[in-house]
């Protein structure tokens, strides 16, 4: 039973991150983040000029809450995915933004 639940959750995560170019798993919403790191992640995306992305509130998504850590072997929230690949958490997002790398990845992902 437990295996099924995990597999269903992982399949759903895979579908979400591959069907949408930019996905942010976070605590709360971009408007009302429930954790400082999640808020920072949403702000970084805003600073990159991203207006359209999928934000998944892990506090309301039991599958993501319990199993996202296994999907890309990364145990914390928030997590940013671009074109199906884990970019990292808020530290990595901020560092890549400061280096101009995140803007590049986002421009590539949204150009198609």
């Amino acid at each position: 039973m437990e295996l099924d639940e995990k597999q269903i959750a992982l399949d759903h995560i895979k579908q979400t991150v591959t069907e949408n170019p930019i996905v942010l798993y976070m605590k709360g919403t971009p408007q009302f983040p429930q954790c400082g790191f999640s808020g920072r992640a949403a702000q970084v995306l805003k600073a990159c000029g991203v207006t359209k992305y999928v934000a998944v509130n892990v506090l309301e998504d039991a599958g993501a809450w319990n199993y996202l850590k296994f999907y890309a072997d990364f145990p914390t929230f928030p997590q940013l995915y671009i074109k199906g690949e884990l970019i990292g958490g808020s530290d990595i997002m901020l560092a890549m933004y400061e280096q101009g790398e995140l803007q590049k990845l986002i421009a590539e992902a949204t150009a198609q």
């Binding site: 990364f74 145990p75 808020s90 990595i92 560092a95």
Partner: protein
């Protein structure tokens, strides 16, 4: 029991040889600067994953960890 910055430092040092490590925090939020030869040749994501692997289950006791990972070369040139 509340986790202290020193605990977090010890947890990391148990599994990762560091040239330099500094951890600050209030028991729920921690900030770490970690310099290790093991980060050489790895991207930031792989470096962070390495630290999480070392911490393992202890991450559940550490509510939030913000980290800066650097190679010894990056640390010397900072």
């Amino acid at each position: 029991m509340k986790v202290t910055p020193d605990n977090v430092k010890e947890f990391i040092l148990e599994g990762l040889q560091c040239e330099h490590i500094q951890v600050e925090g209030d028991g729920r939020h921690f900030e770490a600067v970690i310099v290790s030869q093991a980060f050489e040749g790895k991207g930031m994501l792989q470096q962070h994953k390495l630290v999480y692997q070392v911490l393992g289950d202890k991450m559940e006791k550490i509510h939030a960890l913000s980290m800066k990972t650097l190679t010894p070369t990056q640390w010397a040139n900072r």
